[in-house]
Each structure stands twice: as structure tokens, then as C-alpha cells.
Symmetry: C2
Subunit: 354 residues, 2 copies
DNA sequence: CTGAAAGCGCTAACAA
DNA sequence: TTGTTAGCGCTTTCAG
């Protein structure tokens, strides 16, 4: 009897040998496709069981030229916004028999680049990028690859990559209109570094509201934060120094709002009685704070799901005739814009004088 | 000239053909190992560049019998405790040239099982399990596999798998002693489902403090939560009903503490003036709450790092003579216990009468 | 219904 | 210094 080497997992030929059939037959039994005589099948199955055989995904991938793996690149897994995306992408992928190779770029462009190379090397079937700091050169590079790529809430300047964005501009406008409607006129905004495209869109949305003509005499002051609670504290201080009279602060995200809240409290300013604060993303945390943070909600899970579906769709279409990527890449359905929603909570109210 | 099929990425033979050498030579140039004549090398490199060639990790894995991929199974990526672990594991893995296949079991045992199978099929080089709900049968199953496995802050009953745990019992004791020292005598604990081993250890630690004899007349009431902020609200209510006089609530984790905080506030009970609250894990959130939550901190990143190191070490040792896994598996250094630390913040104080 | 054989892309002896 | 060759574990024609 031919013994298995210790420490090596069983291969298809181990099974074949034990069942007294060819590897082709074992393969047929495993895949369940072609007809195999019942007794033969039973014998193979018994051998599989006895050996604890599991087909090697690696060999399979090499042969079938598909890995059933999707790469997912996120900006920062420690930011509670991303786990939501990760969960959504993973759910959708798993449902369709794919796994997810998670790449946390930790807000470091060079690390992101390393990961992108890695994903290509690993021959993932597709890549989802939810990295707000995606650099332009990455975009070009990505567009030049044969792997399908989709962007989630980020853009790659120049490259026509399919993307699903939430309507950041509308979100900015929504947040601004909310406090403007409440009666605030001196408002501040704590933004994020400009390499983050969403940040710019949100500012634009706020500006839209200010410029709409519906609210006369608005004064808007914008400072830059870093999207983190800690960084927001300095930004809040800076904002208050430049515009001591602000009664409403719109934040780039909920983490920023948390920092603003803490800073204001430290300064003895009450929220929302003295100053209103609006967050963005509506992460679970927003509802847990005291006061609960008014925030703009994105459809995170829809975004993750869409991204995966789009990717699989592309992968399926790839080998079909006439499906030129470039052509497809320029069709307008390639970028979808998801609506956002304002969740009004306790951190916003009328200005002190109202 | 032999054209590349469109949509297929370049292979080593494409490069070889273009450079006018054999695939072996290309392989040598890529790996940089054996000596290759400078001009040959340059030619190959030029071809690599021109073709945008990247070696297939899949083929490499098949040949070398190693994937340079680690599987990481976590209970619930949406719980802020886990991103810390993920980050740590990913950092350590990346540093050593490995990638991480993330599996979020979403607190669902069957999903966890699916993932474990998947990781085996994918022939990952090792598996890190940070899943508090790990079932006993999984443990047995894992121990029977040839792939190295390490556990992070969880145990598999029966199976002697290497593990890194934080000292949950000491943590429970620390939390209890803190409020006991403050003068509290009627204390409550909101635990987690018993399938979670850490939950039991923490209860035991609390009990240790109560039974130490140093604090006479202590009354401890334990209720079960689910480790989530929402679930904790019902648990807090239940606790307050069973023991209306509690002045301190020790929580299984920070999310539970958040729920307790909200519930108490809703009831008009002030924290810490009326009731003290202690969390566990010291996730960033804990410091952001109002009041900031006193919490027991674990050395999350040390745990992740250790796990990866242990795994790689095992992988390296695997093919060495005399490294019988079973024997190794029974050595006591196989489980390390990391100390915890209490972070005292604003959610705890002396009882109302003190 | 089943087996033989080729080959996915790569590496590593072994020759030359 | 370089090429030839075998083979990693699997699937899939193509014969039988």
C-alpha cells in the first residue's frame, strides 16, 4: 500500500489510487458533472472520506484560470465606516462562492501600491477599491490591467473605471440645508485632506446650499481635519479661532464630529444649545454618542453589493465576443450615484438666539 | 511575432520567447538567485517590462506548495474590537510577505465552518482564529488538519491548539476590584453568551474579587447580554429589575457598556454619580463617550503579531526533522497569557453615599 | 462509463 | 551561464 507522506494533504491521485480508478474519474465524481456509475461513485466517495480529501484550490485555479477570489482595498479598517463595506462585500462575494482578500492600506499610498501588485500576482478575479486616497497614477495603472476593477465611493482621475459613489455633493447640501433651515447663518465645516475626492464634493454641496440664494447672509468657514476624532480636535479649535461666531459645524465624517463634540464640551460650549454639529456616514457610533449625532447616511451595504455584482458580471462578460472593455468603460451606467439620507438626531437644533 | 491573446496576462514563456531565452532563465532573473549574464538579464528585464509581466502566484503556489497567505477568522468585523486584531495580523503578515484572507464569520457558526473549509481548499499556509464562538467540533476538526492553526483570545475545547489569550480572569478581577475599592458593594455584571469562553473567564475573575474576603458584604448579580450595544439595553433593564440597588455595572465589553450608559441615562440615572460603569477591550470608542468609559485594555496588537509569528515559526519548523506536531502541540508555551490593564476614566466613581 | 494524456505557469534538478 | 525536462494537482478533450 502506498502511504501518504505525513504532513502533506491528500491529492486527487491518492484518492484515485485508493479507489482503484483514474484521477479523471475522481474529478468527475467531485464535480458531479458527468455520469459516473453508482458503484464507482460510492467507491470514490469512500476514498475521499477516508483520506479527508479536499481538492486543491490552487491547482484548480491554475487549471481553470480563475481564483474565485476578490481583492478588497480599503483606506483604513480601523475607521468604523469600512467594516460596513467589508461586511457587505464579503457577504455578496460569499453568496456567489468567492472569497475576499482584504487589503487595509492603512492610509498609506505605498502600502496600497504593494497590495495592488499583490492582488495582480495572486490573480484575483476582480478588485474592489474603497480607498479614499486612491492616487491618480494608481488609476492609470489599474485601467491598464486586465483584471476588472470597480471603485466604491472613490474616483481615479482620468481612468474610466466603473464606480459606485454615494452622492457626496447632495449629502453636503443636505447637511448644510438642515442647519440653515434651523436658522444658523455662521457655519463652519471641518473637511478632510484634498486627496480625498469625497471631501471636495461635500464641500461643493455645502457651497451649493450657501449659494442657493435661499439663505441670505450666510458665512461659511472651512478648515481641514484628517477624518479622525483626534485630528478633529485641533481642527475644531482652529475653526473656532477663525470664526468665533459659528453656531453650526458640519463635519466630514462622524469621527470628526466626535472630536468636535469633545472639543466643544471641553470648551464649555453646549451641543446643540450653543453649537450644532452634523456628522457624515451614520456609523453606529453616531447614535451612541451624547447627544446622538445628526448624520448623513450612505447606503453602504448597497454599495458593497453592487460592487461585487458588477465585478462578477464583468468577469462573466469578459470572454464573450464584442465585450471590449474600453468601450464598456465609457458607458455612462458605469458610474452610479446612490442617494443619501439625513438622520436628524440630538446634536442639531436652532441657534442660541432662536 | 507571436501575439498575446487579448485579456490574458503575460506568462513566463511569453517573456522567454520575447527575450529569446528559456523560461528557466527568466525564472532565474526574476528570483535573482543564480547568476545570469548581465546582458541576458537586461534582455529579460526589458521583455518583462514591455509585457507588463508579473509572475503568477497561483502557479508559483502550486509548484512551491506554499501560498504565502494566512487565513484570519474573526467573530464580527463590525465590532470595533476586531479591526484592531485584523490590523495587527495584517501588519505582521505583510511585513513577512504574506497576505491575509479575511473571514468574517458574522457570529454565525455555519458560516464559520464554510470559511474554514474554504481556507483549507485554498491551501493557506496557516490560520489565525479570533472567533469567540469557536465550537468544540471545529477545534477537533482543526487539530486534525495539517495546516498550522493558532487561536487568538479564544479556545477550542479539547484540541491542544496554540493560543494567545489575554488574561480575562485577571481582567474581570481588575474591573471588580476597581469598583469594590471605590466602595461599591452591590454590583452587577452583564455577561455574554456562554459559548464565548472569555465571558466565563471574566465572570470567574469578578467572582474571585468578590470571594477574596477583602470586601465583605458584596452582592453580585449577573445577567446575560449579547456583546452588542442594543442587546445591552435589555440586559441593563433586566439587571436593574433583579437588583435595583446596584451602584456599579461591570460589562462584558465596551459595546455593552455603551448600551448600559444609554439605558441608565434614559432612566435618569447619572453616571458615575448614581451608577458606575466599567467596559472591557478599551476600543477607541470608550474614550470618546460621555462620560469616557473606564475599561480593561487588552494588548490587541501584540496578540495579532504573536499569532502571525507563531504561525510562521510553525510553518518553518514543519519540514524539519523531529518536529512532531502532536508533541509540539502539548508543550505548555503553546498558550500564552497576556496581562491586561485597567484604564480608569470618567464612568466610575464612588457610590452615591460615599 | 472510464482511462490516457496534455497542459495551466512556474521552479529546480540535471545536463550541456 | 543557459537549456531541457519533469512535475506541482487538477480538469478536460479524446479514445476506448
Amino acid at each position: 500500500m502506498h502511504n501518504l507522506e505525513v504532513g502533506r494533504s491528500a491529492t486527487i491521485s491518492d484518492v484515485a489510487r485508493r479507489a482503484g480508478v483514474s484521477t479523471a474519474t475522481v474529478s468527475r465524481v467531485i464535480s458531479g458533472s458527468t455520469t459516473v456509475r453508482a458503484t464507482t461513485r460510492a467507491g470514490v466517495l469512500a476514498a475521499v472520506e477516508a483520506l479527508g480529501y479536499r481538492p486543491s484550490g490552487v491547482a484548480r485555479s491554475l487549471k481553470l484560470r480563475t481564483t474565485h477570489t476578490l481583492g478588497l482595498v480599503v483606506t483604513d479598517i480601523a475607521n468604523p465606516y469600512f467594516p460596513q463595506i467589508v461586511r457587505a462585500v464579503e457577504d455578496a462575494a460569499l453568496e456567489r462562492g468567492h472569497t475576499v482578500l482584504l487589503c487595509d492600506s492603512a492610509d498609506d499610498p505605498s502600502r496600497e501600491e504593494t497590495y495592488l501588485d499583490l492582488l495582480i500576482d495572486r490573480r484575483v478575479d476582480g478588485i474592489v477599491i474603497a480607498s479614499s486616497g486612491l492616487q491618480a497614477r494608481h488609476g492609470d495603472w489599474l485601467a491598464s490591467r486586465t483584471v476588472p476593477v470597480v471603485l466604491v465611493n472613490c474616483t481615479a482621475r482620468g481612468a474610466a473605471l466603473p464606480a459606485i459613489l454615494s452622492d457626496n455633493r447632495a449629502g453636503g447640501r443636505l447637511a448644510a440645508e438642515h442647519v440653515l433651515d434651523l436658522g444658523h447663518r455662521r457655519i463652519g465645516h471641518i473637511s478632510a485632506p484634498p486627496r480625498n475626492a469625497a471631501a471636495g464634493d461635500r464641500v461643493a454641496g455645502i457651497q451649493d446650499a450657501v449659494d442657493s440664494g435661499r439663505y441670505p447672509g450666510v458665512e461659511l468657514t472651512v478648515v481641514e481635519g484628517d477624518g479622525q476624532a483626534e485630528g478633529a480636535e485641533a481642527a475644531t479649535l482652529a475653526l473656532l479661532e477663525r470664526a468665533p461666531g459659528v453656531t453650526a459645524i458640519l463635519c466630514y465624517n462622524d469621527l470628526t464630529a466626535v472630536g468636535a463634540l469633545r472639543t466643544l464640551r471641553g470648551l464649555g460650549r453646549r451641543v446643540p444649545e450653543d453649537v450644532s454639529v452634523v456628522g457624515y456616514d451614520d456609523i453606529p457610533l453616531a447614535a451612541w454618542m451624547e447627544p446622538p449625532i445628526t448624520s448623513v447616511a450612505q447606503q453602504t451595504s448597497a454599495m458593497g453589493r453592487w460592487a461585487v455584482e458588477r465585478l462578477l458580471e464583468r468577469m462573466a462578460g469578459e470572454d464573450e465576443p464584442g465585450s471590449d472593455r474600453r468601450q464598456l468603460g465609457e458607458r455612462s451606467e458605469n458610474v452610479v450615484l446612490l442617494p443619501v439620507e439625513l438622520c436628524v438626531r440630538g446634536s442639531t437644533g436652532p441657534p442660541p438666539w432662536a
